[in-house]
Amino acid sequence: MALSAIEVGDLTKDFGGLRAVDRVSLRVAAGERRVLIGPNGAGKTTLFHCITGTLRTSAGRVSLFGRDVTHLAEHRRTALGMGRTFQISNVFTDLSLLENLVLAIIGTDRRKWVMHRSVGTFEAVRAKAREGLELVALAHRANDAAKFLSYGERRQLELALALNSDPRVLFLDEPCAGLSPSERHSISRMIGELPRDITVLMIEHDMDVALRLADRVTVLHRGRVILEGTPTEVQTNPEVREVYFGRV
Amino acid sequence: MTTSAILQAINGTSLAALLFLLASGFTLTFGLMRVVNMAHGAYYLLGGYIGLSLAERTGSFAVAIVGGGASIVVLGYLIDRFLIRHTGDNHLAQVLLTVGVAFIIGDVALAMWGGDALKVPVPPFLRGAMELPGGLVYPTYRFVLILFGVFVGAVLWILYRKTQIGAVVRAGVDDREQVSATGINVDRLFVLVSAVASFLAGMAGVVGGAFLALYPGAEWEILVVALVVVIVGGLGSLEGAMVGALIVGLLDAYGRWLLPEFSYFVLFGPMAVLLLVRPRGIFGRAS
């Protein structure tokens, strides 16, 4: 069997008395586009946090490309090729856009420890940073501080940060949240055009975007997986409709 | 040899009682209001001096305690209302501001009471020594202090854990926004808790000033030790203040006895261990 990019086994996360994620198991194949859907409070973001290492699991296993990362710190998982965006834009607001991208690029690079030369002398890195900004149409604001960006531009920067950390697996948490229709369109196009050597696991509320981009969909409800299948299967499933729209 | 060891244990416990009085206010103020008040030591010193003057004037220790505590309640309220309020959640600003306040209080105290070490007069019935079970002779005052500390601790604990108001305070420590969303006047709650903390600090000054002396610089020495208590016990936890006070009090007593020149090292020990093993303190919550 081909190596899964992401493998989650019986993952459980408790917060005191509250069980946010309940024995979730998932397997995402390399190159796959998997979308996680589910109503608010279903545990999607918590599941993300557990897989990326932002939170520690209460029970269960997480593997990336066959390697058990359950007890590995977040920054070490990134070194294995993990990139992520956050549900609420988490960019470096006080730094310039260029600096934002430079940090993303050298995150897993030994050059981040250099103390005797200024960042300005690293031409290749800066060029790559500018390219990364061009990809999300923000190159013209390279020297502006991120705090001056609009909401939509911040989501774009958020995506750029994730893309530029050289990921093999991309975790996108509601990348289109709060965006205007045209912004939504351009972001989902960007995601759709990502090369297939990057695996994508995405949380999305917008059904259109989700169903258009997904190879497979996993539906979460109250911390449990209630269905997994192709977009069509999920769309026509009565239990899913009930969970989303109430009793018909 | 064991007699000395037991004596030091009692010494440590009496110091713990005093530390608890100061640390409990500091930790609850932080837990509920997210305010770091570095003037707490200065409150102790000023309360002690005021109590001293009251004791000298009225001859009553009770008046001294209540007066020392009450005067700091007033001062604390003014400082909260007119100064600390402007710092919001900015801890750096709070530290600088309250350190500045402490410097001013320290100088005012120096100007009014001078630089000599002064002691608050102990009432006659608490002077001298008493005999403890087992034939040990121990200063009465320090022993009664332990009982007093336990009493105050019990009262605070009951208020905190078993009353309606305590429940509201605990909820506020957990989640301030949620409490104000339920319609409870959070401002008044803050003023109340702050008043209790101030009273305890001022009272601690009088109570402490009777066996440790009051002198310029004492406000920082006691504050730092109270900070170690809070660090070890966990910021925002009442139980942490109790446990932390006991640990620090005992360590300080044994440290002074066994390694007088290095007693400060002894304080360093638990903090270092904590940092390695459990940085947020024994009862501290991960932020």
């Binding site: 988490n90 730094l95 993303a104 981040k112 960042v119 300005g120 | 100064l83 801890h91 001013i104 809070v230």
Partner: protein, 315 residues
């Protein structure tokens, strides 16, 4: 802005600094030397505060430990400067390796732990009188000498300090502009983002802490040769807080800020103590004033007022 235009102000300031001894008397020269030394200490604090977002209140510890080490070696064991000075810096840096444990905490906890750590050092300096000399400290520290090169006067020492200062600020400038410096600012801006990008934030902060301690230790060595003695006051909490205030008053995150702050605070102290005994309360008022009215420091305040004036004038 072309590089020449940027360097020009710095060169002007440097020229003024070089010419200073010809223009002012020994009292002022001594005060300015002090401003350099404490400015350097404030700079070390600002590496953590302005760049990494950590507010350390124990830097007087590294300063004092290095001062004491150098003093004790020179005075009691006749160790020459060539060894005593590096030993002092090493001692302070080693303490930094130990106190650096504090970076396992953040925010308020970090501040409180550094306060407590700082107090431990003060307490040891104060109580271990058999070694440290207690409140009297270590006196009669000679001027530094390297082989046949001896500092013979305060003016010569001023130039030595100035030279060290220039080297330090150049090095500091490169450090904060380097990738490592950028990672510190990244951690300050969003530690969670940094971790998700692959940075071991605790380790970066630890290294920054140790570098900062080394710089503070260097300031300590410069201090002890200037002062010719050291006592527990050098390790005290007021010193740690004052140098933090210097960085804030001058403007954090800049290179000149800590030195401007040092000039203001030391100048203020000097002026006030000539007519008012209770200096601590004046310091207290400054703390309160800065927090309430000038949180981005003098530089920030001037910038704001200037912008407002320009706006009003161009209406």
């Amino acid at each position: 802005m072309p590089k020449a235009a940027r360097i020009l102000p710095a060169l002007v300031v440097l020229a003024a600094a070089v010419l200073l001894p010809r223009v002012v008397g020994p009292f002022w020269l001594g005060l300015v030397t002090q401003m350099y030394v404490f400015g350097l200490l404030a700079l070390s604090v600002d590496l953590l505060l302005g760049h990494a977002g950590l507010f350390s209140l124990c830097h007087a510890s590294f300063f004092a430990v290095s001062a004491y080490t150098t003093a004790i070696l020179q005075v009691r064991h006749a160790v020459p400067t060539a060894l005593a000075a590096p030993a002092g810096i090493l001692a302070g840096t080693i303490l930094g390796l130990v106190f650096g444990l504090a970076v396992r905490t953040r925010g308020v906890y970090f501040i409180l732990i550094t306060i407590a750590f700082g107090y431990v050092v003060w307490g040891v300096a104060h109580r271990w009188s058999s070694f440290t000399g207690g409140d009297n400290g270590v006196t009669n520290v000679p001027f530094p000498a390297l082989g046949t090169l001896r500092v013979e006067s305060p003016t010569e020492y001023y130039y030595l300090v100035l030279a060290v200062l220039v080297l330090c600020t150049i090095g500091y400038r490169v450090l904060v502009a380097s990738p490592f410096g950028l990672t510190l600012r990244g951690i300050k801006a969003s530690e969670t983002r940094m971790r998700s990008l692959g940075y071991h934030s605790d380790l970066h902060l630890y290294v920054a802490f140790v570098v900062s301690a080394a710089l503070a230790s260097l300031a300590g060595v410069l201090y002890v040769y200037y002062n010719r003695f050291v006592n527990p006051v050098a390790a005290s909490f007021p010193i740690s807080v004052e140098v933090a205030l210097m960085a804030i008053v001058g403007g954090t995150g800049t290179i000149v800020g800590p030195f401007i702050g040092s000039g203001i605070i030391l100048g203020l102290r000097n002026w006030v103590s000539s007519f008012f005994e209770l200096y601590a309360s004046v310091m207290g008022l400054v703390f309160i004033g800065v927090v309430l009215w000038a949180p981005d420091g003098v530089v920030g305040l001037v910038v704001r007022l200037w912008a407002r004036a320009v706006k009003a004038w161009t209406r």
